[in-house]
Amino acid sequence: MSASVDGTLAAFAAARTPLPPEVLAAVVTAVATVRARARAQAADGDAALAAWDAAIRPLLPAGGDDGDADADGEWGDDPKRAASAPGAPAWSAYRTALAAERARGAADSHDASERAHGAADPQDAAERARGAADSHDASEDDLLRTIVAAAALATAPGGDQREQELHEAVAVGCELALRLAAVLGDGQRERGWSLAGANGAVGAAVAAGRLLGCSAEQLRNAIGLAATQPGGFAEPLDAAGRAQLAGKTACNGVEAALLARAGVTAAPAAIAGRRGLLALTAPDAPADALTAGLGERWLVASLSA
């Protein structure tokens, strides 16, 4: 059974997929949102982003063709440009997701403190708790979207005629990550995993793998390499830590795709196999739910702006 679940997911990951209009709309919004957030955060002169740039420098390829890439700190300004200029897509994905999530986290923590100062009525408190749980899910979904979009932006070939490939990659990668989070989420949350960390790398690897031109077999290996890296525990992370985790998860996914494209092999049943992601992080989750309605029912479509 497990092999067939993984096989079905891998086939979906590799297939050309016509996107229903509402899916396309959600994906276009996702890409635009993540790109805009990352850009704004970089333009904002975020000190944490600048510190990351400085720390990561020894691992970046030396200069772009025009030599300006990291000298003036501009390379991450435009995620697409960041991908093409220094030629380090995994680090570019890290930076884009880090910046985008820092931008969102800043807005979100403002909302949270507003909520925390609300009324003390028990009814309201219950309402707020429910709202917080919902917004937790929504924020995990948003984080997954950020991770997948960042991976795609870092690996997308330039040129508007390739937009469709980008959108399909984001749609398919996001859908897989969202399905993992939806099906495995209860178990993962109970155990203490960050849903974005546990499930995001698979989505990022699929999106990046498609855009990097991986074969179906390479994509399956990319999924295997990503699924074995469910990094991140929810409880000890603050907003800044979640942003780092988003960046690292996007980076891991892109690198998984690069390694798989280079020929690295991995478990064929890394998600639903006996020692796979499901068994390790959410053993009671129903594996079949991962593939139910795949390609017909899209969780991506319900992503909010």
């Binding site: 020894p58 691992l59 525990f233 603050d238 690198e255 690295v264 390790l280």
Partner: protein, 460 residues
């Protein structure tokens, strides 16, 4: 209110400031030599080519060596390539209480950063020893639940040791090292589902590379320190149903888990080793009295084989029909079959060809496990029935390379020579001498020369 990450970092930094105790130094040297040998031995493995191809596309300036290779890479990709190479043949080391293979990720991170930062031999050895110690202690804290739940503990714990080593070699203070350890705690990698594929070795390599990255990002304080290791929702609590975080620190610097590291005499999962010992012992009798090292030829005389073993053998290495060298490493029956047929079980006996040869497949088919709950993990017996009705039996109480019967220096040196010399002529002895002299070496030049390929002179 200091966190466990702070306390562990303080202990690590303090220990790094004093010489290793003599027995620890000796075991650190043996551990280092062993994984340098396996890394060099696997340096032409396709997996290393794949990793270096990615490094060439997306890596930074090439400042660190990869043992046995002419190419260099940035510290992160050198760590990834080296850690993966050291582990890919499943020929490295084992800490039996946790089943951690500590040397690979420790070597990956420590060698890359030490070479990049132009550290001394003593600094490399100390960082390597502490990388082993930190990850072994993390493993002890979450064992046995963690591995039993399906995790490849070499990857999940390796990153903590790698982060410690990289932090030391970058010159971090205790506070910054603590930040590296806290970030490393979140870098989980390693499902046992990946066994029998290259992902298994990637676990060790990526643990090393993640450790380097965590140390580089540590000055930015990427994640909170509180709870990362010790909270119910942190490393120990999430990765194991039952754990004891206090074991990470208990007796640090006085009691060393590294002293319990063991070195593999055969390139496969360790639970198969006593069975292979028994098979190798029987091989000369099968060959009809020929000298040691000869096996049973094509084994046509073998009617059936009863392989009595600990329950973990079928659980971890139950594969009967391996299709390639990686799957062969998870077939205890393969190890016993080549032990009987070839009288040895080294890298050539675990090749793609040998995995598929008909004579080996025939013996594997005629082998059955006899699970013995009363057997220790390093115990096995092989009982061969021949076509003429003769029976050959061997019982091994403690496998070669077990804690009770550690590899001698001479055995370890022979292993390293066999690994290094096909690739780098005369490198085995040079490597042994370089590790012997490491603690007194002001630079890594002699060691790096010993692991550089012959043609490395053309490299800048």
């Amino acid at each position: 209110m200091t966190t466990l990450a702070d306390q562990l970092a303080a202990a690590v930094v303090e220990q790094a400031g004093t010489p290793l105790p003599a027995d620890v130094r000796r075991e650190a040297e043996r551990s280092l030599l062993n994984v340098l040998g396996t890394a060099v031995g696997a340096s032409t493995h396709p997996l290393v080519d794949h990793v270096l191809a990615v490094a060439a596309q997306q890596g930074g300036p090439a400042v660190a060596p990869v043992p046995g290779r002419a190419e260099r890479a940035d510290a992160s990709y050198a760590a990834l390539a080296t850690g993966a190479a050291a582990h890919v043949d499943d020929f490295d080391d084992t800490h039996l209480a946790t089943v951690i293979h500590a040397g690979a990720s420790s070597l990956g991170a420590a060698l890359a950063v030490a070479a990049w930062q132009e550290r001394s031999g003593a600094e490399l050895l100390s960082a390597f020893a502490l990388a082993c110690e930190v990850q072994l202690r993390a493993g002890v804290a979450i064992s046995p639940a963690h591995y039993d739940e399906g995790w490849h503990i070499t990857g999940t714990c390796g990153v903590l040791g790698a982060a410690a080593a990289a932090s030391l070699l970058l010159g971090h203070d205790a506070a910054t090292t603590a930040a590296a350890l806290a970030f490393a705690a979140h870098q989980t990698i390693g499902q046992r589902e990946g066994f029998g594929t290259q992902a298994k070795a990637i676990h060790a390599g990526k643990a090393a590379a993640n450790g380097v990255l965590c140390a580089l990002l540590a000055p930015t304080r990427p994640v909170p320190l509180a709870g990362a290791l010790e909270a119910p929702g942190g490393f120990c609590g999430v990765l194991a149903r039952t754990s004891d975080p206090a074991l990470l620190l208990d007796g640090f610097g006085t009691r060393w888990e590294l002293l319990r590291n063991t070195y593999k005499p055969y390139p496969c999962g360790i639970v198969a080793h006593p069975g292979i010992d028994a098979a190798v012992e029987l091989a000369p009798q099968l060959a009809g009295g020929a000298g040691a090292g000869d096996g049973a030829g094509d084994g046509a005389a073998i009617e059936r084989v009863a392989y009595s073993c600990h329950p973990l053998v079928p659980e971890l290495m139950g594969r009967r029909d391996p299709a390639d060298h990686l799957q062969a490493r998870f077939s205890a029956m393969h190890g016993v079959a080549v032990g009987l047929l070839d009288g040895r079980a080294g890298i050539p006996e675990f090749s793609d060809e040998r995995a598929c040869d008909a004579d080996v497949a025939r013996v594997r088919e005629r082998t059955r496990f006899v699970v013995r709950e009363d057997f220790a993990r390093d115990e096995a017996a092989v009982d061969v029935v021949l076509a003429d009705g003769r029976r050959l039996q061997a019982h091994v109480a403690h496998a070669r390379g077990s804690e009770a019967r550690p590899l001698t220096d001479a055995e370890l040196h022979a292993k390293v020579r066999a690994l290094a010399e096909p690739l780098l002529p005369d490198a085995g002895n040079a490597l042994i001498a370089a590790v012997d002299g490491l603690v007194a070496a002001p630079t890594l030049a002699p060691l790096l020369a010993a692991v550089a390929p012959q043609a490395a002179g053309v490299e800048a």
